[in-house]
């Protein structure tokens, strides 16, 4: 089963989710409505809703809470993107102007807060205190991860553990929650939902590491921003972390980060040097280790078509180039 087939198979539910997202973002004030819908119409992979849908197939996927969970998690993700664009001062997302670029930072704050509140209102219908504990912890950790990332900017002495904790909070736990909540909302046992959580966590870790690799090896056209943008803004991701273990590369990175006048050519040369080192291969190895763990979890799950689909998604994460 290919990734396209998975999306095709889930098309009916994905369309329902899309319509629900659209109706949930019909804010009663025109500006908020336009800003929210712009973001929705910019599209996206909808990987979190897909994970919820697939995980729900281990229980009863027709339960109303399943689709509500998928919509909620996508809304939370969207809200975080609007604020991320303010934090990163990004003008484009998925090739379209960001809310902060089209309007301004303040509108982006109001829009993100509005969308986030819509998500919480929707999930508050969910009558399981345990689920709320899981969701609220993830949302709290998500924001802590973003704060950690700002704290660790330009810190060349950070350790691998700090990086892994950061990406766990920033990316992996929301994917983990998507799988766990899909299971939980469809009535799976806590134990099965826990396994789904661990699968989503490993998948998310690999997903973010791959993202961090692509930031170095991708082209400006693929990335929509110059290669090495993370490092240029002081964000030490995994390839940079490995590169810093090489004395020469360490000094070169330190010199450019400290310089106010580093040229684009100097940055490009440094990014190429990092790509030519073993930093990318080592990062890929770690990404693969997480994918192996994810696949091992899948072996412990009931062998239903959804298991194959989740395996396919793991394969996509490991090989994606955009």
């Amino acid at each position: 089963m290919s990734l396209a087939q998975i999306y095709l198979k889930e098309k009916k539910n994905l369309n329902i989710i899309e319509r629900k997202l659209e109706s949930y973002l019909q804010a009663p004030y025109p500006l908020l409505r336009e800003a929210s819908l712009d973001l929705l119409h910019a599209g996206g992979k909808r990987i979190r809703p897909i994970l919820v849908l697939l995980a729900s197939q281990y229980g009863d996927p027709d339960r109303k809470e399943v689709l509500d969970s998928a919509v909620t998690l996508e809304l939370i993700h969207m809200a975080s993107l609007v604020h991320d664009d303010v934090v990163d001062d990004s003008g484009l997302r998925r090739g379209k102007p960001t809310v902060k670029a089209k309007w301004d930072n303040r509108v982006a704050m109001f829009t993100g807060d509005y969308i986030f509140a819509r998500a919480i209102e929707l999930i508050s219908r969910f009558d399981h205190v345990q689920a709320h504990r899981m969701i609220s912890k993830v949302i709290r950790d998500l924001s802590l991860g973003e704060i950690d990332q700002i704290r660790d900017l330009y810190n060349l002495n950070q350790n691998l553990r700090a990086y892994l904790l950061r990406i766990k909070r920033k990316t992996a736990i929301l994917m983990a929650l998507s799988c766990q909540l899909g299971g939980y909302a469809s009535g799976c046992s806590l134990s099965l939902s826990g396994k789904l959580y661990y699968f989503g966590y490993c998948l998310g870790m690999s997903y973010q590491i791959t993202d961090d690799i692509l930031d170095f090896v991708g082209t400006e056209k693929q990335l929509g921003k110059p290669a090495g943008s993370d490092l240029r803004s002081g964000n030490i991701t995994l390839p940079a972390f490995y590169a810093l273990q090489d004395r020469q590369l360490h000094d070169a990175v330190a010199a450019l980060l400290q310089s106010d006048q580093a040229s684009d050519e100097e940055w490009q040369a440094l990014i190429q040097a990092i790509c030519a080192s073993d930093a990318i291969a080592r990062s890929e190895q770690l990404s693969d280790r997480y994918l192996d763990k994810a696949r091992k979890v899948l072996k412990q799950l009931p062998q239903i078509p959804a298991t194959k689909a989740l395996e396919e998604i793991a394969g996509y994460v490991g090989t994606r180039n955009y």
């Binding site: 303010v86 509108v107 807060d113 509005y114 209102e121 609220s136 704060i147």
Partner: protein, 263 residues
């Protein structure tokens, strides 16, 4: 324990809960409105026990802090690294506080309150857009004041409604409008604008600072009169300690005299 001491204790606990070591290094510690904390606590006590009322009051105050934090967001182009970092953390710390209210309410199983807060936050953001981005042909002062007023008490009014304490709504609504305008007025006069509101009013309505001051004084007097009228009605149907009304009246007199004397 007297109510003042209980609120002081909650205030201290809240300071700890809002404390994030890195945020504290970069941004000023968020201000907590003690009046709101007191009212929340008394409102919640009408439905739940003292302990849970304290947790709920603190949680909703954290949501208030999240919204206030995002109000500090500016649109200027920044080049200085530390200013950029402050802006980034203004966005992220607000998100952190918004996550915290859900986290702490979920921990004590108060999901209805989570829903009320989420609904109120939506209203707050609608009112903020109405205030700053009213697309009408002419700037409308009354509409702007109305939007400011609605956003100031969006959360506390929704909680009062959820707890079936509707008779407090007009009092609370006028009280917090006066409080905010007085704080802004004093902030402007002391050349340390508390938020972007004064700056926005001056630019948007093309007012000199004296003209803006006079308009604000009008708002204060009108809202104070409305407050007094609704306080009389609330006193008749009040089930909460009458002391709260006395306290709010005393505070209101102080705000009015302070602002108008300074003005």
């Amino acid at each position: 324990m007297p109510i003042e001491q209980e609120v002081d204790r909650l205030y201290e606990q809240l300071q700890d809960e809002l404390n994030h070591p890195y945020i504290r290094r970069v941004l000023p510690h968020p201000a907590v409105d003690k009046d709101k904390l007191l009212i929340y606590y008394l409102l919640f006590r009408t439905k739940v026990g003292d302990r849970d009322a304290g947790i709920c009051a603190k949680s909703v105050m954290i949501a208030e802090v999240g919204l206030t934090t995002h109000e500090w967001m500016t649109n200027d182009t920044l080049t200085d690294n530390s200013a950029i970092r402050r802006r980034q953390l203004t966005a992220l710390s607000g998100d952190f506080y918004s996550a915290m209210y859900y986290y702490s309410l979920a921990r004590c199983g108060q999901i209805d309150i989570v829903r009320w807060v989420a609904q109120a936050i939506q209203q707050f953001n609608i009112e903020k857009c109405r205030l700053y981005y009213n697309g009408g042909p002419e700037p409308d002062w009354d509409q702007a004041v109305q939007a400011l007023s609605a956003s100031e008490s969006a959360l506390i009014v929704r909680i009062a409604a959820g707890l079936e304490q509707d008779h407090w709504i007009p009092v609370i609504h006028h009280y917090f409008l006066v409080k905010r305008i007085v704080q802004e007025r004093l902030g402007c006069m002391q050349k340390k604008a508390l938020t972007n509101i004064c700056k926005f009013f001056e630019t948007h309505f093309k007012l000199k600072s004296e003209q803006l001051g006079r308009r604000m004084d009008h708002v204060i007097l009108d809202a104070a009169a409305e407050f007094e009228k609704s306080a009389g009605q609330t006193a008749e149907s009040c089930t909460m300690p009458g002391k709260l009304l006395d306290y709010l009246r005393k505070q209101m007199r102080m705000y009015c005299s302070y602002a108008l004397e300074e003005g």
